[in-house]
């Protein structure tokens, strides 16, 4: 598969997830929105660490910052840290079972959210709402299906 074609699929999946990350939902469900960007990033970094790396994570984080109107660089920093950690351990993570990766992802998202909260609270006066952490559980619920679906896409379009 030519390089261009692989990147076409990867960037398309990033675009879809960016849209899903800001897609309007009723306020009730808003807190349950899975962290699509973290899911898609960790999938691609685990599957193709030579294609998707820290630079991608940083750029995507900046884009998400702009889309959400948060402090510039908040998500960029957290995403690149997570991408770094995933990319040095990708051999180990690949051998994990689906249950193990789900738990791992839960920990990742929790750390990311904690980091975001920490950065935001050090920059400005904010209030933490309890539903803020609920999206960890929906993300963990979504992850196995998301993982299988992405693997199907990767095999089907022979992204490598």
């Amino acid at each position: 598969m030519p390089l261009f074609n692989s990147y076409k699929i990867i960037y398309l999946s990033f675009l879809v997830c960016l849209v899903a990350a800001i897609f309007p939902l009723p306020i009730m469900f808003n807190a349950f929105r899975p962290d699509w960007m973290l899911l898609v990033l960790s999938y691609w970094v685990m599957a193709l660490p030579h294609r998707v790396n820290i630079g991608h994570a940083f750029i995507l984080g900046l884009l998400l910052d702009l889309l959400l109107g948060s402090i510039l660089g908040m998500h960029g920093l957290l995403f690149s840290l997570l991408a770094y950690f995933t990319s040095i351990n990708f051999q180990r993570f690949r051998n994990f079972t689906l249950v193990q990766t789900t738990l791992l992802l839960g920990v990742f998202i929790f750390l990311a959210k904690l980091g975001l909260y920490w950065i935001a609270s050090s920059m400005q006066e904010i209030t933490l709402h309890r539903p803020y952490f609920w999206s960890i559980f929906t993300s963990m619920l979504i992850w196995p299906w998301f993982f299988l679906f992405m693997r199907f896409i990767r095999v089907r379009y022979r992204v490598s």
């Binding site: 897609f23 309007p24 702009l66 889309l67 908040m74």
Partner: protein, 276 residues
């Protein structure tokens, strides 16, 4: 690389180096925002199209009635306006009541969970500027905090970083209203314990500070409590505008009355001169 990222980001956040570039950066992501907003827009226009004839007739009648009432009020308003102008001319003080304004639609996309903000579909190309006041038909909503070429962000009055100068409509006591970070609560700090403020008082913009034009309703006092020995009273208020439910907002062009005013102190003799 990580270390480099961290250093760069912290520096940019702290010293706000990116603020001039924000217009261009926001313009880059605007297409994604329009894509994400499209289904919602499509759905709402679709649901507007499939209203029954009876519903349309009813609504039309209702709007005609409202229009009649508002026009009648407007007749009186014109009269009052000219009267007010005459009185102000007698007092030698000028005040403008007409502002340029523009209707804008809220793009109901997710925003940063730590701040209270809205995305609107007008930007620098429409003349939107930083700090521009935003209201709806009920009262003040907030002000523009970031501008893109076709979209902008509005920080709401309930955001913890927002403050707005107000006065009590009943007796012109001035105060400042701060956001609390909760959707329906505002704080009014530094109110003297003996200030004449009651629950239910309407707070309107005072026009001090020059950002917001004077006279628009902001909030209602919901609690006034004073504990013996405290320096200030605890006062909370609720915003009068439905911040989380408004779909259309109004942008105001506030020609700052202080912008071209002569703020140099006049010599007191000029005023104290005896009247012949």
């Amino acid at each position: 690389m990580i270390a480099c990222c961290v250093g760069l980001l912290i520096a940019d956040n702290k010293y706000n180096l990116f603020s001039p570039a924000r217009v261009y950066l926001n313009s880059i992501v605007a297409p994604i925002q329009y894509i994400a907003d499209a289904p919602q827009k499509l759905f709402s226009s679709f649901s507007e199209n499939i209203m029954t004839r009876q519903a349309l007739v009813d609504r039309n009648q209702q709007l005609e009635k409202d229009n009649l009432h508002l026009k009648a009020d407007r007749l009186l308003l014109g009269q009052l306006q000219s009267e007010n102008k005459q009185l102000r001319e007698l007092l030698n003080s000028e005040k403008k009541f007409k502002y340029k304004r523009m209707i804008t639609e809220v793009m109901s996309l997710r925003s940063d969970p730590f701040t209270h903000q809205l995305l609107i579909d007008k930007g620098a190309l429409n003349g939107v500027y930083l700090g521009q006041p935003v209201i709806n038909e009920q009262g003040v909503v907030g002000q523009v905090s970031q501008v893109g070429s076709t979209t902008s962000r509005v920080v709401l009055i309930v955001d913890a970083t927002h403050g707005i100068p107000v006065r009590v409509q009943r007796n012109d006591v001035i105060a400042i209203v701060h956001g609390s970070g909760a959707w329906d609560q505002l704080k009014v700090p530094f109110v003297q314990s003996n200030a004449d403020i009651k629950e239910g008082d309407l707070l309107v913009t005072s026009g001090l500070g020059g950002r917001f034009p004077a006279g628009y309703p902001v909030a209602k006092i919901s609690r006034f409590e004073y504990q013996e020995g405290e320096l200030y009273a605890t006062v909370t208020a609720t915003p009068v505008a439905d911040l989380d439910r408004s779909r259309y907002l109004l942008l105001l062009w506030n020609d700052d009355p202080l912008a071209d005013a002569d703020l140099t102190l006049d010599t007191p003799e000029l005023f104290d001169a005896p009247v012949q």
